[in-house]
């Protein structure tokens, strides 16, 4: 999209980029060991951890993609984000406490470490690392791509640099994230996440209030949408234009699948004191819900303005948020939101850089029974390597990376959620069942998603499920089924004894 350069937007973006760079410089002095680099020295307070969890969970999709999706399919799109009403408590109850306690007793920096300690199986742990690496490349590539597009839009580099505009914008955005992620590791990651989280909440609430005013209130907007030919009553039907299986499938994947998202689970390892888990769900739930207001606000206002004839119908629904912000909101608000979107993208990207580097320098070598001698140094090198690889991959294979990015959440969910969530709460789960469940989740999800959507390799068969059924929901159910039934079918004598620390933590 080419748009006129807005000085407020440019100013906010420059200020924001300078701020996160400064945090990177400050954090570099506080990052002295692998523990500092990967889990911020396990010294982070609960409010910072809560904001870091929230901002890492929400990528730019909530701010830009969500309103566009709502413009396209109506309020049914909200099934992706409304699980935030209960998922913060759900996450803390099901896995949060045990992850934090385990990390207090053992050297645990990653989800693969948890799998290794829980199941005592290098194969299971290695498989978890592979799932993390695949998902990381997809997520990170998509974030870098989005970062490039946003920087290009904000700074108007398209007119100046032509075909080199997008790669230049991607390099600029990537350089800032890589700088603070390399220099300050997770210390920089969580403190930038705190700033980013505050910015996201303020921007989302401010835009929501502005939307209510400009659209004439919720009821006026709803009635305009229902009465319009372009949208009609189905736009405000809870299931909208989606099938029940799709909408409720989204709810299932984005609620239960959260238990397998490494960038969220990882935050529990950093918490300084397990006692402070107490009010974390309240802060995470309220801040996530505040961020979702932007999805609801713009997603409702843009169709209402189009229905009222105050805005032209969008050719590309994905332009709902940028077009509304650039043409309908005061420049200062647009600046705040664009900084908020940059924050959302970068906070997710830095989490994945750290997790991906840990998977490469810790988890994979451990799966082969080896240990990298200087994890701190090689962790930094790996951050740069992953960023370069994901950026080049995202630039060369734009469509492929977008596709991988969209099903990364489902891959994590199906591969990791059952093994982590059931495994930490039921002693009987065996390493074989966990390994089979992870393999099932990964293969079924990647297979179904890729074969149903890919257009790159003509010779591959196309597989499609019943209309509306989500591959991620199928793979997550299949992964739970395999884990539970293989565990039940395993004779009691085949179970190896639990690690004493794991046994102790599961008893609490």
């Amino acid at each position: 999209m080419t748009s006129p350069v807005n000085p407020s937007v440019v100013g906010s973006a420059v200020l924001y980029l300078a701020l996160v760079t400064a945090i990177g410089i400050w954090a570099a002095g506080r990052t002295k060991s692998a523990k500092d680099f990967f889990i911020a020295g396990q010294k982070i307070g609960w409010i910072v951890t809560a904001f870091a969890t929230m901002s890492a969970a929400f990528s730019g999709f909530v701010f830009m993609g969500g309103p566009g999706l709502m413009y396209r399919v109506g309020v049914a799109s909200l099934f992706i984000c409304i699980p935030v009403g209960f998922t913060s408590g759900f996450l803390c109850w099901v896995v949060g406490k045990r992850l934090r306690l385990l990390a207090g007793l053992r050297e645990i920096y990653t989800v693969s470490d948890v799998i290794l300690v829980r199941y005592g199986s290098r194969r299971a742990s290695g498989l978890a690392a592979v799932a993390v690496i695949i998902g990381t490349i997809g997520y990170l590539g998509a974030q870098i791509q989005a970062l490039g597009i946003l920087i290009e839009m904000v700074f108007g580099t398209g007119a100046l640099l032509g075909q080199w505009s997008l790669p230049a914008a991607m390099i600029l955005g990537c350089a800032v994230v890589v700088f603070y992620a390399t220099a300050g590791g997770m210390v920089a990651g969580v403190y930038t996440d705190l700033i980013q989280g505050v910015l996201m909440v303020v921007a989302a609430v401010a835009v929501f209030v502005y939307c209510l005013q400009s659209g004439g209130g919720l009821e006026a907007m709803s009635r305009s949408i229902i009465a319009s030919d372009a949208f009609g009553p189905s736009h405000l039907d809870p299931f909208g234009t989606l099938s029940v299986m799709t909408a409720v499938g989204f709810f299932f994947v984005f609620a239960v699948g959260l238990l397998g998202q490494p960038h969220m689970l990882h935050k529990f390892f950093m918490l300084s004191d397990p006692r402070t888990l107490k009010w974390m769900p309240l802060v995470i739930g309220l801040t996530q819900s505040a961020c979702v207001l932007i999805w609801l606000g713009i997603g409702l206002t843009v169709p209402a303005l189009v229905a009222q004839g105050r805005m032209t119908a969008l050719v590309n629904p994905d332009q709902a948020a940028p077009q509304f912000l650039l043409s309908c909101t005061p420049p200062i608000l647009a600046g705040l939101v664009f900084a908020g979107v940059l924050a959302a993208i970068m906070s997710t990207a830095d989490s994945f850089l750290n997790i991906g580097s840990a998977a490469i320098v810790r988890d994979l070598p451990k799966a082969f029974g080896r240990r990298v001698s200087n994890e701190f140094l090689w962790g930094r090198v790996a951050v740069v390597g992953i960023a370069v690889f994901a950026a080049v991959f995202a630039f060369l294979y734009k469509d492929l990376i977008a596709l991988v990015g969209t099903f990364a959440f489902g891959t994590f969910a199906a591969a990791l959620a059952p093994a982590v969530a059931i495994g930490l709460n039921w002693r009987r789960v065996t390493a074989t069942a966990a390994t089979a469940s992870m393999a099932t989740g990964m293969v079924v999800n990647l297979g179904l998603e890729f074969l149903s959507k890919q257009t790159f390799l003509d010779w591959l068969p196309s597989v499609s499920l019943k209309a509306g059924v989500l591959p991620a929901a199928v793979s997550l159910s299949a992964s739970f089924t395999v884990l539970l039934f293989l565990t039940w079918l395993s004779p009691a004598r085949s179970q190896s004894p639990l690690d004493p620390d794991v046994d102790f933590v599961m008893d609490l």
Binding site: L78, V94, K278, S477, L484
Partner: protein, 144 residues
């Protein structure tokens, strides 16, 4: 006992959801909605059970299940009735159920229930004492 029921539910619900995915029609959709909405509560029950009991968490867990199940079924029944039903909070009733019920309904219930029961059930003083003692022992072993 609660853990056993939770596992039984999860074990039956997971393949049942796969079966629902293959069949068209209202019954399959209704079953899918009922199973999906009860799934989170079953996982919570599995995690928080102590000595077979849910303790003070049984009230918020039952309330969460009822809210999710009630909203899911209500939305299913209200599908296609946007023009006919009453309005609530600026939306047709089906959308209001989705936004105020399914999203905002559990928000304070779950977060406050977690905070209020935390020291009594989730992580008690006695648990923390045991945890600190074990951690100190592990540190001592590592240093020794």
């Amino acid at each position: 006992m609660a853990q056993r029921y939770a596992l039984l539910f999860l074990g039956l619900a997971s393949p049942a959801m796969l079966v629902c995915s293959w069949f068209p029609g209202f019954v399959a959709e209704l079953c899918f909605v009922l199973l999906v909405m009860a799934f989170p509560a079953a996982l919570i029950a599995l995690a928080v059970t102590r000595n077979g009991k849910l303790g003070p968490l049984w009230v918020p867990l039952v309330a969460l299940t009822l809210i999710l199940e009630g909203c899911g079924v209500a939305m299913l029944l209200l599908r296609g009735h946007v023009l006919e039903g009453p309005w609530f909070g600026g939306f047709p009733v089906g959308t209001a159920v989705q936004i105020y019920g399914l999203w905002l309904g559990p928000l304070l219930l779950v977060a406050l229930a977690y905070g209020w029961t935390f020291s009594r059930w989730e992580l008690r003083e006695e648990d923390l004492r045991r945890f600190d003692a074990r951690r100190n022992r592990s540190k001592g072993d590592a240093e020794g």
